[in-house]
Symmetry: C2
Subunit: 438 residues, 2 copies
């Protein structure tokens, strides 16, 4: 029963005029299959392909074995007009993607003199001693009929090969190189061919379960005919993403506005942003809008809250300082927390969180302060204050808020969720929304 | 030419006695294929399977389409004895994995009364209003003959199904749930069946190119017969991982020691750690060994350096405080940098980086201080100090070091690499290694 595969091919070929260009991706590398490396490349690539107007229907990861690389490329090329392979183009003996491509297309490998000269020039330019290691020369072996995809940031060039009805792009697995090459070569290639890009509207939520969202939106098919909805884990909650109808005579702006209206009406209370907005960028917007500056005093999150805030380009306009006060002495010295308060309530407590928020704002001369204190584990918990006990507090002209979090999970997860909760708390306070009750 | 696939089956079946159990993974979800979500689940799962004694030979990601899910499951089950499917078990209408499984195995779905009662109890326990949304009931539909994989941290139960020669596990896509269930159910299942786990020795390096590593290790096949080497992108550089020979009469400790000896002899100058050690955990070890405490003053890395340091459980024993001083006033107030120094050299300069490192140590009363200042972009660069100009400095009883970094890439990449460079600088200083020259 190869029904599914036939259907996939059918889906790719029967795509209506004006819909996205069908693509598949093959990732090569034992390190991916062993889980040693997280395949962030694929997500970057898929987003880039989609933004240019293609749609990824299938993705396979295969081992560094030429036969398996060849088989995956052949299957993909039999189904869709665009196949992208990443990984295995490096200079070491386990980089066998060139062999796999050569085998899949039955085109022998030969040495490309231009690439070789380029590799040597690059090697010398980076201060490499002569002669260049023989391993690097392998990178100049290409299948017959391939053209070169320039690599603006690394040594391994990519390949582009037209074969029967499909086009194959082969890129290195190094994220920075792969991204730059896909952006410069594949994206324009797709844009020149795709009839129209797929367009989405996303409403990002925090603090509501996926099943409750789905219930509140159960009549979406009739409220937004032609739209398709998906629920995705987002940065800090669930993203509700709707695909705008293709071929609708209304303009994209009007189609987006329809979706926005319907979604906000039903779930607006939980929405913090749209599309690529993050909690930290929305917090930044509110700070700018109110003309406020921000200071942070954090303990268990260890700098990650400041790290998220400063991830936003231009955050220096409103972010004054952060202090990571692990020791009690640092809490006293950097955020003006009274030592007696720590003694009486313990460092992990509501009064200390509130004192961190107001204290760091006063010490820094900023309008807004955030305080975080808690136990991220795996050790340090007590029956009274188990691992996962976190207090976040926010101080602003609009008020002084506090939340007591009872989190579970790994150290990393507890730290992440504490950061998200703190960002959402300050967002709600600045936006004039009601204080969260739990 | 289905040669590759046949070979994959052959590889799985012809595995020598004592080698790892062959497995494949299928990830379900449009959000993965669109690149909206990074598939971190797969890496976690693969590591867990490998640690238990299985080896992942192939991984596919498919859309939320029952036919495609069914086809991927069928192919995988025809090749290997263990197939794990993740994702698409949730309560919303786009969760169709149950349908795909039912179709792949030709076993109809029916309502499981125990699961339903369990879902209802959980819903009430979490404060959900009666009645539970009908969507949630979908989670109680299971294929005939399936047994339940308990979910200790969420509502969606997993499934285990024996079908012909293969065993299929189906888990939810929520990372915390997937991990907990795989750990509790699949890992022991594998350990009971796998003849022997695959074991690796990894030496982690920083500051050396992959091609140069490969050249230095070109004779590894003769120096370490029976070992297999791979070069993997690691946290801060390239990891050199060797697979220990299976079936060798020497014990694992001796096999590891042989690998360690050979690798350290050739590339020891670039190695910062082994196996799961990270730069930040090694820095922590040195601080403990020397009896030192650490304070950090960072600007462009915005808290991420403190975040990495405090990612290590128990770091509160040596980490006193971090200050994120974005404004010049904060640099003066928190790290005692003379205002005149900033005026004369600019905030992004060697003297200010050195003053941040020594100043924050003096203010905090710690033996060791780290300072980072730079321009992460995308704006803020000048012809003199382009985006990517970063100065890191380290102050310790062993000396005062500084490095001028000239980085390229996105804001995120520049921040990440600055953190790594700072960690490596303090590691080398504390370990008594020579100062890096560039």
């Amino acid at each position: 029963m190869a029904r599914g595969r036939g259907d996939l091919k059918a889906r790719a070929q029967a795509a209506p005029a004006g819909s996205a260009f069908a693509a598949e991706v093959v990732t090569v590398g034992n390190e991916i299959l062993s889980g040693r490396t997280v395949d962030t490349n694929f997500a970057h690539l898929a987003r880039l392909l989609e933004a240019a107007g293609a749609r990824v229907l299938h993705h396979e990861s295969v081992a560094d074995v030429p036969d398996e690389i060849a088989a995956a490329i052949q299957s993909a090329m039999s189904r869709v007009p665009l196949v992208v392979v990443t990984g295995g183009l490096g200079p070491t003996p386990d980089d066998v993607t060139r062999k796999g491509v050569s085998q899949a297309l039955a085109r022998p490998l030969s040495l490309d003199a231009d690439i070789l000269e380029n590799l040597r020039a690059r090697w010398r330019g980076r201060g490499g001693r002569d002669p260049m290691p023989a391993n690097n020369e392998l990178q100049a072996m290409v299948p017959r009929g391939a053209t070169i995809v320039p690599n603006p940031v690394g040594s391994a060039p990519g390949l582009q090969i037209q074969h029967e009805a499909s086009t194959l792009f082969v890129l290195p697995g190094v994220p920075m190189e792969m991204e730059a090459m896909a952006e410069q070569t594949i994206a324009p290639w797709i844009r020149a061919r795709a009839a129209r890009s797929v367009t989405y509207f996303t409403l990002r939520t925090h603090g509501i379960w996926e099943s409750v969202l789905a219930e509140k939106l159960h009549d979406l098919a009739s409220a937004l005919p032609g739209y398709a909805v998906a629920y995705l884990p987002g940065g800090g909650g669930v993203d509700v993403r709707v695909r705008l109808p293709l071929g609708d005579p209304a303009g994209l702006d009007e189609l987006r506005e329809r979706a926005r209206r319907v979604l906000l009406e039903r779930i607006g209370a939980y929405a913090f942003g749209e599309d690529d907005e993050s909690l930290e960028s929305v917090v930044g917007k509110w700070l700018v809008a109110r003309g406020y500056h921000l200071a942070i005093a954090e303990s268990c999150t260890g700098g990650l809250l400041a790290g998220r805030i400063t991830d936003v380009p231009g955050s220096s306009a409103y972010f004054d300082r952060g202090v990571v006060c692990y020791s009690n002495a640092a809490k006293v010295a950097l955020a003006g927390v009274p030592a007696s308060l720590i003694e009486e309530h313990g460092a992990v407590s509501e009064p200390v969180a509130r004192a961190l928020a107001s204290g760091v704002a006063k010490v820094s001369g900023t309008e807004v302060g955030i305080g975080v204190t808690g136990i991220a584990g795996p050790t340090g918990g007590t029956p009274d204050k188990p691992v996962g006990t976190v207090h976040v507090a926010c101080f602003a002209p609009e008020g002084e808020w506090h939340r007591h979090l009872r989190l579970t999970g790994s150290r990393g997860l507890i730290r992440d969720r504490s950061v998200t909760a703190a960002l959402d708390l300050v967002r709600r306070l600045l936006a004039g929304l009601p204080e969260p009750v739990r």
